[in-house]
């Protein structure tokens, strides 16, 4: 049960300790990737609460969304269009929706008890 939390802590420590820096223009991709990861994570939590959780979908969505968001931002930079805004918008909206759904489910669960 605590293994995923341990993995998260180790990941945070690794990220804080890693001292190499990447150029400024790539920090945008990283932000988008983080947003995508968060979105997928909350999507997974929501699916789990709605009992439609599929591990394959979750894991593949997690990595695929990260790569897709980063490549979308990359493409946007090279096309001169701020495509990362589209990613930010899409992921942001979905993030809010997912969190809202999670909240409702939790409230419903608590009130039935």
């Amino acid at each position: 049960m605590w293994l995923p939390v341990l993995g998260l802590v180790i990941g945070i420590l690794l990220g804080l300790m890693s001292n190499f820096s990447i150029p400024d223009e790539y920090s945008n991709y990283l932000s988008i990737a983080v947003l995508a990861a968060l979105d997928t994570l909350f999507g997974g939590i929501r699916a789990h609460l709605q009992n439609i959780y599929d591990e394959k979908v979750f894991v593949s969505g997690f990595f695929f969304n990260i790569i897709l968001a980063a490549s979308l931002a990359f493409l946007g930079v090279h096309l001169g269009v701020d495509l990362y805004l589209a990613a930010v918008f899409a992921f942001g909206v979905r993030l809010f929706q997912n969190i809202a759904v999670i909240r409702r489910i939790l409230i419903a669960k608590n009130s039935t008890k």
């Binding site: 049960m1 293994l3 995923p4 939390v5 341990l6 993995g7 998260l8 802590v9 180790i10 990941g11 945070i12 420590l13 690794l14 990220g15 804080l16 890693s18 820096s21 990447i22 400024d24 920090s27 990283l30 932000s31 990737a33 983080v34 990861a37 968060l38 994570l41 591990e55 979750f58 894991v59 997690f62 990595f63 990260i66």
Partner: protein, 228 residues
């Protein structure tokens, strides 16, 4: 079930790593970007610096002005000192002329004595020293730049008088017999040259049968006039 946790931990690892790395990256970049309050502070400091520099410049200008004034004052002071020095020199000179102070210096001594008794000469006046002889010598000495003159040790001043009074001459009322020792302070070379000039005082005196002696002295001391 176990495999599910492993996969979830992998997801957690990647997520944590990305979040932490992104956080760190943002934190590193933060010092480069300057926030509004920092801008304000920056401008404030800049303005302060500018004001400070202006103040400095004003003060420096003031300093330069003051220094200029100081230079002027110093120049004035040195001029005044020069003036005082000149005044002191003048007063010293005038005191010497007036006979108020003891005078010491180089000079000449002229001795005039009556000629030897000559039976062939009928008139005794022809070989006596008269007051006009003394006058001649004194005038010549004064003209040649003597600063102080004395007859038999008595200093002459601007209002001295010499009169013939029978066998003696009176200087300011004091009788002096021959021989007359006239001491003068001045440049000895100039004074003796003036006295010895051909056709001058010496020749005239010798022609009138007066014993004439001229000495150059390196050190002559003349006492001040008493009671003047």
């Amino acid at each position: 079930m176990k495999g599910k946790y492993v996969i979830l931990s992998l997801v957690g690892l990647v997520l944590g790593y990305m979040i932490a790395f992104s956080y760190q990256l943002t934190r590193e970049n933060e010092p480069d970007t300057i926030s509004n309050s920092q801008w304000e502070r920056d401008i404030e400091l800049r303005n302060e610096l500018i004001a400070q520099e202006e103040n400095n410049r004003e003060l420096q200008q003031e300093l330069a002005d003051k220094q200029e004034k100081l230079l002027e004052m110093e120049a004035e002071l040195s001029e005044q000192e020069q003036g005082f020095f000149n005044l002191a020199e003048d007063s010293e000179k005038y005191r010497i002329f007036l006979g108020k102070v003891k005078v010491k210096g180089k000079g000449v001594t002229v001795t005039l004595a009556d000629g030897q008794y000559d039976p062939k000469e009928e008139n005794i006046n022809n070989y006596l020293v008269h007051e006009h002889h003394v006058f001649n010598v004194i005038n010549e000495l004064y003209v040649s730049g003597a600063t102080a003159v004395a007859i038999n040790g008595q200093r002459l001043t601007h209002n001295s008088y010499i009169v013939c009074n029978g066998p003696v001459i009176e200087v300011d009322g004091n009788p002096h017999p021959a021989p007359f020792v006239i001491t003068a302070i001045g440049d000895p070379e100039v004074l003796s040259a003036a006295i010895n000039i051909t056709g001058g005082v010496k020749d005239m005196l010798v022609n009138e049968n007066i014993e004439f002696k001229l000495e150059e002295n390196q050190q002559i001391l003349l006492d001040p006039i008493l009671g003047s």
